[in-house]
């Protein structure tokens, strides 16, 4: 499936911000067997005097920008053409039984970006919590493979959590969102990561785009799509990384385009910025994901 994706993010600062410096995770990259990016263009307004691109530890494209003069607004416009490949229909479950995961992980003793080792322990925003681990244990059966566990947990969260676009903020701790059983894709993903890590399955965070399907017979609304997040879990060295979208109870597939992967939101937040300003800020975001096929 080919897509044209447009993203705009705009910030207004109440007080001009001095020496703004930002780290952006906005540019999607090619991923073998998953997606090909045929074009990508990020324009920033005002144009930053400093701008550089590099890969971060996990191999994501990362953009650094800085301003030397105070700015009172900041806008990002991203245009991407991407091709997403269909995951093969009949995935053979080559993952080990859950109880054999510790040995699988121990055998993967390297520290490259794909190593499961980075995704077992606590990361800055997400760690296993007794309540999520108990929840996870209650929703699996003995004898399940790692892949089955991932799908069972994802489904359980989809059923028990309520999607609520206004209930949480970007910094709401996963424990709070879980206690209230509500949140947005970020909360769903963080909670699923906590559940999986609690069971000993390495799990990380994926940011990206999701194509939304308009209700039958209605036109696609421009800008109605959203930046999205889902989960990747490591299911043993044979099967490797599997992506699951708990907000929609589905394996990530043709509707998903990946921007970046990390341990949690903190590793891949789209616009990370430190502003030396006392006033508040307002932001707006719009995503438009048009299928071209």
């Amino acid at each position: 499936m080919r897509y044209r994706i447009r993203l705009t993010i705009e910030y207004d600062y109440q007080q001009p911000s001095d020496h703004a410096r930002n780290l952006l995770h906005l540019l999607p990259s090619d991923i073998a067997g998953v997606q090909t990016i045929t074009s990508r263009l990020l324009t920033i307004d005002p144009m930053p005097p400093e701008r550089s691109e590099r890969l971060d530890f996990f191999g994501n494209a990362m953009t650094s920008i800085a301003f030397h003069e105070p700015i009172s607004q900041l806008g990002f416009k991203l245009e991407v053409e991407a091709q997403r490949f269909a995951p093969s229909d009949d995935v053979l479950d080559l993952s080990p039984l859950l109880e054999n995961m510790p040995q699988e992980i121990a055998a993967a003793h390297h520290l490259g970006p794909l190593s499961p080792q980075h995704f077992v322990g606590n990361s800055p925003r997400v760690g296993a919590m007794p309540e999520t681990t108990d929840f996870a244990r209650a929703h699996i059966q003995p004898g399940m493979t790692a892949l089955e566990v991932v799908q069972a947990i994802g489904r359980a969260l989809f059923r028990e959590m309520r999607f609520d676009a206004t209930a949480t903020e970007v910094d709401t701790p996963p424990a709070d969102a879980f206690a209230a059983r509500h949140g947005v894709c970020q909360d769903f993903s963080h909670i699923m990561i906590a559940c999986l890590r609690g069971l000993g399955i390495p799990a990380g965070y994926v940011s990206g785009f999701l194509r939304t399907h308009p209700p039958e017979g209605q036109p696609r609304l421009e800008g109605a799509d959203a930046m999205h997040a889902w989960v990747r879990a490591w299911c043993g060295s044979e099967l490797g990384w599997v992506e699951f979208d708990p907000t929609n109870d589905m394996v990530a597939g043709l509707d998903h385009v990946v921007i970046a992967v990390g341990r949690d939101y903190g590793d891949v937040s789209p616009v990370k910025g430190v502003l030396r300003t006392s006033g508040g800020q307002e932001s707006r975001q719009a995503v438009d994901m048009v299928p071209l096929d």
Binding site: P49, F57, S64, A108, H110, L111, G112, S115, G121, V274
Partner: protein, 797 residues
Amino acid sequence: MAGAAAIPSGAGGALLSGYARQPGVADELFTSDGEMRAVWRPFISELEKLNKEEISARFARGDRYLHDAGVFFRQYSSDPLTERAWPLSHVPVILPEAEWNTICKGLAERADLLERVCEDLYGPNTLVAEGHLPAELIADNREWLRPMVGVTPRSGHYLHALAFEIGRGPDGSWFVLGDRTQAPSGAGFALENRMANARIFAEMNLQDKRLRLAGFLSDFRDAIDVLRNQVGGRSAILTPGAGTDTYFEHMYIARYLGLLLLEGEDLVVQDGRVMVRTVTGPKPIGVLWRRLDASYADPLELDETSQIGTPGLVEAARQGAVNMVNALGAGVLETRALMAFLPRISRVLTGDALTLPNIATWWCGGAKERAYVLENAERMMIGSALACDLPFDIGATTALGGKLRGGAAGSVERWITEDGARLVGQEAVTLSTTPAWDGNRLVPRPMTVRVFAARTSKGWSFMPGGYARIGSSDDVTALAMQRGGAVSDVWIVADNPVPAVPPQDSKPFRRAPTGFLPSRAADNLFWLGRYVERAEGIVRLLRAYHLRLAETGNSADRRLAELSTYLDGFGVDVATPIPDALPNLLDFARNCAGKVRDRFSVDGWAALQDLTASLEPLQKTTRPGDDCARAMTDLLRRLNGFTGLVHENMYRSMGWRFMSMGRALERGDAMAAALAVFADVGAAPGGFDIAVELGDSVMTHHRRYRVETTRDTVIDLLALDDANPRSILFQINRLSDLASDLPFAEVAGRPGELVRVILTAQTALTVADPSDITTERLSDLRAELAGISEKLLAVHS
């Protein structure tokens, strides 16, 4: 104590009577045969010449020195300004040079090994890939900084300044208890230990064979210069700030080595370079001696919750635009569990075992090791595998001798079995003892020695002694060290006299350029000037009030009412003789001064401390009226003592200018405010006299005008007389003089913004008549002064 070795007669005598060494414990003073070590004999025999009182008097001399020098150690507590006196144990630890050299040789090997491990962890990571180091110890480690992976330091080295905590075991051999690689502290305190020791043991003829400490820091200073020359710019110490426990040392070393003392907010990264914001604009920094834990250094790429970092610092390090001492991420080497693997890593990387072993450590993530720790839990300290603190630091260990600490429920066995991968067991080592003074005689106390190392062009250089930790009880397990204890000097004694430092050749010198003042320091100095002046103004007002209260005995008097309303406007309630506003103001002043202590004389700081200290008893005892008036007079003298010390002795630097401008602005504003009330045409009778008194100009008025005070004479003297150091015009003239030497005084051949606003006010006031200075005009003047204040800070931020 049973089994204590006998003290041979003639060695120590009364001083050492009852020096009860413990069986099976090495002692620094005596060999296992009970013979006093040769290296201690001259010291003990000198000490023996003194009686108990003389010894105590000498030791008190050392404490006094440390107090006067302002040496403190900050304790984390609810009050961020709580400072604890430096806990000096006066008796030094004495070691022979040959033994010391062996230790240093072992530590140099260890330092090189740590460098190679660091290189691997931030490079190819073969140690993990080849199974010499468990992956989870690195992957879960918050000190292993992923953004630094693949970044080679500009200098080619990760480690430049290290410290090692070492101890001596029962068999007399040395071992390492901990490696300090993040931001080792103590080298500055070591110098102060030595200074205090010099006071204590002056005239005792002990110095001639003792190795000097100073050479180490100057070697390191040279090494920093080399690092700086690779990138250009200035060198600085990066401190977490005045609230941190070892802030004194940051300030001390900055002053000692002539480095800038900066905080994260002083820095900004521009085009990949680290710049310090100064009053003359951003200036490049080439070397940062980092005393701030790495994860806080950059909120953008490291801990995003950090409030004390500099966005972009990681990027600057990545681009090789700044050299860090030590590299960001080097703290990972402090991980306790690493000690379990270093012996093997040493054999893998160098083919040799470590000459100086570390404390025996077992990571409970391995089945065999777990079983061993369980079996031997009785003689183990068990704690977090990823902890970076020393085995005897508070909270470092959660189980000792087979029991969970703090009376926690649960069995150690279950804990280790369930949580093994997160735990290490370390042998509960026995430390050697060394003499400490208990007020009457010498007693054996456990000790560890901290050794400082610096990478120089000649290899690793070691500070010869200077720092040991001394336990407070005779419990000789390493853990005893965590119950407070003290710090002592360590003397490394050579066989032959150490030649005096040769007189420096008269090298050509260069005056360091002035004007290099970080904006934040300028800000603090400015406000210090203002707060102290404001405190003085309030003291004068309170004195005026209480003098009149004593005089009339009638608080309904109109002058008293006017004074009390006026003071109320400053948040001062005259109902209490010493209102809280006063100590609060002095705290503000102390807070500002505390942040710029590196630019401030030791005496000035001590005077400010005394000032605050003197208020506390006064607050309890002072009664209204005459008693309070006298207390205020006394306080005024102390305040003048402080300002006198500062203004008489402070170098006429840019910083001094900011402080003086703060003072002048505050004084001008206070005078305008006072005249608006007390010289108002509708003021209470006697108001003019109050104004003159507040302006400290009673005598002058009398001499100059030879008449009673009138509105015109008061305004003339206190607003317009350019020879009266209390007048408003005097302050504005002063501001004008001071501003003319500031950066940006002239821009493109024209007066700068700040100079322009000052000139406008100055001209108007210079040509004014007393009749022009109405109460309304006075309030305009206050607004103009506020404008100058804002402009001053804005232009130089």
